[in-house]
């Protein structure tokens, strides 16, 4: 083992060495970190009917004092004023929590079955899980519209096998149920893969020992398999929960008028009402809600790496 902290060359002044760090670092600072500061700034500014539709709060770096005195909490007050926003946040969290739970319920048995499959077919099974993930998100959501529509394929199927009268129709499309189906369908690979990664690494001799000592399989699962797969459970849940909370496409295409999700609210504020400061405030609050799950996710990733 060579010393890890002394990479490639001992020549620390080599400029090429530092370019490796500097180029991606500066790019991410400029295009990922700085935008968050701007969004924060604009969330405190006034709405104005102009392009860009907000009055600048900030001119030059010397004006920080001015800026602080001009801070305007109007947009945030508006968010607390209108119960619609509060309900949208709560409803997003509710939908994300229930979906994550459903994903675990469906994803865990799949991942476990994959991990227990003969090692010769495991790569194929992994490939089969990844492949739908490569096909477009939008296409996969679109596919469900044709199935769930009142005059769609599910109605046709149920009518054909006689579970439904010829005049009845499935009333799932444009409800929260359709949103759950769409989310579980779209995010399933994201849940299965981290779970599989955790379960596949597991030492089978532990289960054999438990079984030799007379532990029933069901108990062995809860005492050994599940606790050992917890890193995968946490990683999978966070990878699903965080983006689902801000999901836009699925509630917009499959949900109904009463499906409240904050991603949709933000989109409407921005594209329909053209209220950029309010949209920014909505985004800042959403981000604050997700700080803890994101921190858990980051921690988990660092442990894996």
């Amino acid at each position: 083992m060579a010393t890890v902290s002394e990479p490639q060359t001992g020549d620390r002044s080599n400029p090429a060495r530092w370019l490796v760090v500097a180029i991606p670092y500066i790019w991410l600072l400029l295009f990922f970190a700085v935008p968050f500061l701007i969004i924060l700034k604009i969330s405190f500014s006034d709405t104005a009917i102009s392009i860009p539709p907000y009055t600048p709060v900030f001119e030059g770096f010397g004006a920080i004092g001015d800026y602080l005195s001009q801070l305007d909490f109007e947009n945030y007050l508006f968010l607390t004023d209108d119960p619609l926003y509060f309900q949208a946040y709560i409803s997003s969290l509710r939908i994300a929590l229930i979906s994550t739970f459903l994903l675990l319920l469906i994803g865990y048995p799949m991942a476990l079955a994959m991990a227990r499959a003969p090692s010769s077919i495991r790569p194929t099974l992994v490939m089969l899980v990844i492949l739908p993930f490569w096909t477009s998100f939008l296409i996969r959501v679109y596919a469900w519209i044709g199935i769930l529509k009142p005059d769609g394929l599910l109605t046709l199927l149920l009518q054909t096998i006689g579970l439904m009268g010829p005049d009845d129709q499935v009333q799932i499309f444009r409800t929260d149920y359709a949103v759950f189906i769409g989310i579980v369908y779209s995010y399933l690979p994201f849940m299965v893969l981290p779970l599989y990664a955790a379960l596949e690494k597991m030492d089978n001799t532990l289960l054999e020992a438990a079984s030799d000592l007379g532990c029933p399989p069901w108990k062995a699962f809860w005492k050994i398999t599940f606790p050992l797969s917890l890193p995968g459970v946490i990683a999978g849940s966070m990878i699903c929960f965080i983006p689902i909370t801000g999901e836009f496409v699925i509630p917009d295409l499959l949900g109904g008028a009463d499906t409240l999700m904050i991603g949709k609210t933000l989109w409407t504020e921005f594209f329909s009402n053209r209220d950029w400061p309010l949209a920014s405030a909505v985004a800042v609050v959403l981000l604050l809600m997700l700080v803890v799950p994101i921190a858990i996710f980051q921690n988990q990733q660092k442990k894996v790496a």
Binding site: P24, L28, F31, A33, M238, V249, L286, Q301
Partner: protein, 271 residues
Amino acid sequence: MKSHRFDATVLTLGFAFLYIPIIILVVYSFNASRLVTVWGGFSLNWYTTMWSNEGLMDAAWVTARVGVISATLGTILGTLAALTLVRFVRFPGRMLFSGMIYAPLVMPEVITGLSMLLLFVALGIDRGFWTVIIAHTTFTMCYVAIVVQSRLLTFDRSLEEAALDLGCPPVKTFFKITLPLIMPAVVAGWMLAFTLSLDDLVIASFNTGPGATTLPIKIYSQVRLGVTPEINAICTILIGLVTLGVIATSISTKRTELRRIRDEHEAARGA
């Protein structure tokens, strides 16, 4: 035995759930009837009408260019970022750096899209083709970094060290030794970046401008109007292209891997 049957059932149901909607979508792109629930016989009608839809073809061309340019930039930046994560254990702001690599992976797209748009407005940059490319490069580079990082972590450093000991300059060592060895991961990262760019609706919607309508934006606006077999046809072509790409990459990765193992065996025998 009982658990085997249980596993087989779970996997069958799971994969049926994952694949049946896509299969239905593909099948109905060949439907002669305009109605989704009526099978009017096999037809390639929707594929031919699609070609004459100029807006759609323009969008496809924009998407392909955005995908290739942003995936290439994202792969270069992502590979550098992976090297930074693995090889530079200590430098000021490393915590922030790894945070900025992991956060975009889970960040809701509406937040990333909106914040980037506000940056472009603040800088006075007109939105269009290049702003979409910058936005896509930024989030795809993080995925590339993760893929390349995992390869670098399991990488045998002795070849690199040998080259350096023999006086090969570090930059040359990287291009002659390191890069060829991590190439499968770099190629896989590029493929992932390209499909992510091809797929993105939300971030592109925020950052696009006149003349830079991408395919997902176009498909989305048509989907809102209703299900048509024409959309099924475009989707089928996209699914076909992506499937071919994935299979081709996995075959070529396997081949490179086999060749590497054979070369190592031969080298060992020679020595």
